[in-house]
Amino acid sequence: MPDKRNTLVNTALLGLLVLATIISLATGTVQVSLFDTLRALAGHADPMTDFVINELRLSRVNAGLLSGAALAMAGCLMQTLARNRLATPGIIGIDNAATAFAVASVVGVGLSLAPSAMALAGAAAATAIAFGLAGANGTRGYRFIVAGIGIGAIAGAVTQVMLSRVAIDAANAAYPWTVGSLNARSGQSVLVLGIGLAAGYLVLMSLSRALNTLQFTDAVAIALGTRLKATRIIGLGLSVMLTGLAVSVCGPVGLIALLAPELARALCRPGKVPLTAAALAGASFMLVADLLGRTLFAPLEIPVGIITAIVGSPYLLWILLRPSPRSLT
């Protein structure tokens, strides 16, 4: 049965995620065996192991999990709304804009809101502009994407300007924002992201039927009883919110929003928007990429954003360059 397939996929992805989590928790400069890691998680370890596992590593893994899931869900949602699997927030410039705003907050330019709030504002502003420029076509069609690329370029340039205009220490403080790293997350941002992700997930689950119908033509969707405009606005709003909150935790980590939904779609039953599977896959991707970044050149650390770019870009190129099996727009 089709639904069994989705349940199976989700269970398998969940298992993968648990595995990635445990390996992440057990890996680091301080040697902790797998057994001791599990004991520490259960609360039966000496204070030092407990500190390393439950405070240091768990908070990082937590940040990675939540931001990966949020980026993947935001990507999946945006792809569905734009009916274009390339239309992920990273590609259409929302990440860059969120970063520009967050960097503005870190280096103390303009409004003195917290980086999280500023990232959210940046994401919203970029989407609004891209939407406005795309005109009557809305999120569907190439204009939205190309407008996003332009906005992303402007935001990137503005970020560079700000970084070059401030003292080296402020620039250093803002650097993690520009590459995408899990090292500089703040506890508060992670908490806000967690709440946002939970709330967003609940709303999306209640909307799942309407979202599924968005994959058909408008006429079919309306015939099936979907309130197109409302669904689109809510979906777009949630996608922007999730992206902004994730960027406020991990910076602009690219391509997770593209790869995770791709994987989810390949595995799940066609015809449904695989939000849960995408979120699980995104969280796993983020953890594995961060694990690679931490261990490849230890003790030096490679920001997770660089890893996802190097791993994910060739795949994206392959999607783009192979003779088109089906239309993209």
């Binding site: 590609i91 190439y142 204009r143 332009g150 205009r165 954003g305 870009s313 783009l320």
Partner: protein
């Protein structure tokens, strides 16, 4: 502009020389501004006096040794990028085909970073690696346009370029992380800027630029014929495959030289042909002619801005061109002329 099939009828109704003269005049003004204005204490009137050969020694030095070289470098860079953009767009029939957007500049920058990491120090070696990088980038772009369905999908090509750029930037960051000692030097070469670049760089690139100009003179007519459609071009006795190869090579020479001189400057190759086409119509030969004054004027104008907005320091030129170019990209999208050229 949409009507690629009948260029002559459109062109006939357009005056070509007035805009060319106007652009030339504008270029002269920008050159003058570039010599007169800077981030330093030498004011425009001091510089003017120096140009009239009765200024202070300090002003004479600043004008001739600092502002003049960067002016020349900016002129050549603008010329190369403008022509490269026009050629690439005409050949791929994609108004968004710009060396910066398609990842050619990033490929060139990555090659320079790699060369510096491996110990290249001379201007010649840096130029050569920049050109090899650009050639690889161009070859990829052309290969991509040959893929079924992709050639007439401008957006997908641009997305592929953006992806390529992202990948190359990530790899460049990796190189810089791995060798802190080389990082400062790499940063100097891959930040878009024409300030403080040695003139030896210019001598190293001049042969390639000259060769590229000769090649353009050769391919301009066949390229214009190809705008009528490949069958028409073949009918007129041209070989589209050979022409495509020559153009790819020319674009790589131009972009590689420009990147070696000024680092990756995004959007210049988009803005310049966009402006030129607005006056020349679809005839590639006229567009190319107009690019000759417009390209240098755009880059040099951006450079003058970069000196003035952040004085006494300077803004990276690449940032200024991105800020100028992105709105043009949006304008192209707004205009709805996307599907074909």
């Amino acid at each position: 502009m949409l009507n690629a099939l009948s260029p002559t009828s459109v062109v006939a109704s357009r005056a070509f020389f007035p805009p060319l003269l106007a652009a030339g005049f504008l270029l002269l003004l920008v050159v003058l501004a570039s010599l007169l204005y800077g981030a330093g204490p030498v004011s425009a009137s001091d510089a003017m006096a120096a140009l009239m050969a009765n200024g202070t020694e300090e002003a004479w030095f600043v004008v001739t040794e600092l502002r003049l070289p960067r002016t020349i470098i900016a002129l050549i860079t603008g010329l190369a990028l403008g022509l490269a953009g026009a050629l690439l767009q005409s050949m791929t029939r994609n108004p968004l085909a710009e060396p910066g957007l398609l990842g050619v500049s990033a490929g060139s920058g990555f090659a320079v970073a790699l060369a510096i990491l491996l110990g290249a120090t001379t201007a010649t070696l840096t130029t050569l690696s920049a050109q090899l990088g650009a050639l690889a980038g161009c070859a990829l772009v052309i290969a991509a346009t040959r893929v079924q369905g992709l050639g007439n999908d401008p957006v997908r090509l641009v997305l592929a370029g953006a992806t390529m750029t992202g990948l190359l930037l990530a790899l460049t960051s990796m190189l810089m992380l791995m060798d802190q000692r080389a990082a400062d030097e790499i940063r100097f070469w891959i930040t878009g800027s024409v300030a403080g670049k040695p003139l030896s760089m210019l001598w190293a690139t001049l042969p390639s630029i000259t060769l590229a100009l000769v090649l353009i003179a050769i391919v301009a007519r066949p390229l214009a014929a190809m705008a009528l459609g490949e069958k028409a071009a073949v009918g007129l006795g041209h070989h589209p495959g050979r022409i495509r190869f020559l153009i790819t090579f020319t674009v790589a020479l131009l972009v590689g030289s420009a990147t070696a001189l000024a680092g990756p400057l995004i959007f210049v190759g988009l803005v310049v042909p966009f402006i030129a086409r607005a006056f020349s119509g679809p005839d590639i030969r006229k567009t190319l002619w107009l690019c000759v004054p417009v390209g240098p004027a755009v880059v040099l104008g951006a450079d003058v801005l970069s000196r003035l907005i952040a004085a006494p320091a300077e803004m990276p030129l690449g940032v200024v061109t991105a800020l100028i170019g992105a709105p043009v990209l949006l304008a192209i999208v707004r205009a709805g002329r996307m599907p074909s050229l």
